[in-house]
């Protein structure tokens, strides 16, 4: 224990020395570089040179058709008439082409970016995890023995989510919706946790990206509204309110229809904002180390210690939030699905 502490302190003391070379720390690009999307997967920097994995850029331009090449080609500048928009541009950081009049046009962009690759990897992880567990049940007689290890943990999660959340919130035909809700839970959980892992293949801010949460929210929206019962739609278009609130001017139906969209919208924003905020907090805690590098070794060293401790705390917090947000998303989706299946109260 004492030895470990000594090594820790020694490492901390070395930090400012190694960072002396860096001139000025750009906080904004540091944070946005980590939470944003990019065309290559930046891993680290060795001797001032960035080490990153180039990813395929796939774009379709109206004028020049499909383009498909590795992002490393864009490092030198323009390639096939395409370049990454510089800072200050409307499409900062995105691949754009220059139109005839000199303005920037964004082509249709299907590139496998950092987030897409992270998404693919995490999804593969989810599929392997769940199908691996399913395989255990196929190979064993679940009536005779209980699974251990990861399968046991997954079974515990599946059982508790099914019984405590889905069964309670959805109601009688919960089994029809359980696969979607469980998929959403594990998908969000794995993506959240992988987002906290600081090195490749983790670290992509997937669930803190609004496009990802948007798609999840749309899936929930579809699940709620495609299978809503008669009573649910009657409550939206002809709710039990005084007639003047719905007859000449459909005030209540309008509010109800708006409500159909605000529910998944809140799901989208909640997950996005929570994960984004968590990432930014951790990054800020880490950034203290680099920001204080200019203040001298003593101050930097002591502040680094605080930053590391704070970072550990925030990582634990984020781990909790990762689970919590997956749980909350599943729970609220279940509740919304359950609300669309309410039977009218007997009068």
């Amino acid at each position: 224990m004492k030895k470990l502490r000594l090594i820790f302190v020694a490492l901390l003391a070395l930090l400012p020395l190694s960072l002396r070379a860096e001139e000025e720390f750009d906080m904004q690009s540091f944070i946005f570089g980590h939470i944003g999307d990019s065309y290559e997967w930046h891993i680290t920097e060795i001797k001032g040179k960035p080490v990153s994995i180039p990813l395929p850029v796939i774009v379709h331009s109206k004028t020049s058709g499909w383009h498909c090449f590795l992002s490393s080609k864009l490092e030198e500048g323009e390639y096939q008439g395409l370049h990454i928009a510089p800072a200050g541009s409307k499409y900062e950081g995105k691949v754009v082409e220059t139109a005839a009049d000199g303005s920037e046009i964004r082509p249709f962009d299907l590139s496998i970016t950092k987030n897409v690759l992270g998404l693919m990897f995490n999804s593969l992880l989810v599929v392997v995890l769940i199908l691996g567990c399913a395989r255990w049940y196929r190979r064993h007689d679940a009536l005779q023995e209980a699974p251990t290890g990861i399968t046991g943990a997954v079974e515990m999660l599946v059982a508790s989510i099914t019984n405590d959340v889905i069964k309670e919130a959805v109601g009688k035909d919960y089994e029809k919706y359980a696969p979607y809700l469980l998929t959403a839970f594990f998908f969000i959980l794995i993506n959240n946790i992988m987002g906290i892992v600081p090195f490749f293949p983790g670290g992509a801010n997937v669930t803190g990206n609004i496009a990802v949460t948007l798609v999840l929210a749309v899936f929930t929206f579809l699940m709620v509204n495609l299978f809503g019962n008669k009573h649910y739609y009657k409550d939206i278009f002809w709710p039990d309110v005084p007639v003047f609130l719905k007859a000449p001017l459909p005030i209540m139906p309008l509010i109800e229809i708006l409500g159909m969209f605000t529910k998944p919208f809140s799901l989208m924003v909640r997950l996005f904002a929570n994960m984004l905020a968590g990432h930014i907090m951790i990054l800020c805690a880490v950034a203290i180390i680099f920001l204080t590098a200019a203040l001298g070794p003593l101050l930097n060293g002591s502040l680094s210690l605080i930053a590391v401790l704070f970072g550990v705390f925030l990582d634990c917090l984020e781990f909790l939030v990762a689970f919590l947000q997956a749980y909350v998303f599943t729970m609220l989706s279940s509740i919304f699905i359950g609300l669309a299946h309410q039977e009218p109260e007997p009068e």
Partner: protein, 170 residues
Amino acid sequence: MSLITPDSGLIIWMTLIFGIVFFLLARFGFPMISGSVKARSEKISESLRQADEARAQLASIAQEQQKMMEEARREQAALLREASEARDAMIAEAKAQAGAEAEKIIADARERIASERENAMRDIRRQVAILSMDVAEKVLRKDLSDDQEQIQLIDRLLDEISERKTGNPS
């Protein structure tokens, strides 16, 4: 700011990836796990129910056993009582029979004694009558004038008679 504007490319990729994941897991993953978990929990509750039933059955068996034992004990007591009653009845009957027999024997004996006595009396009476007749004959046969002689005669006769009776009983 690109943070809050969803990127169309990412939306397409996400829809595709999530759709595939959803399809795979909903088709091959979760129904298997949920089904097995449900089957197991059903089996557990079924087993618990069966155990409960078995316990109840065991309790009822014990109760039945108790009841049977009690019944047996009651039967035993009843049998004993019956046996003793039968014994008592037999003894009483035997006693009654013996009593009746004894009574009969006694009555018989008494009757016989009575008849013996009657016979004896009749005998005695006959003897007396014969004696009287003899005496009277003798008296009549001898005419006696004086009393002295009469008395002597009677005495002699009586002696004679008694002598004959002891010497030669009729």
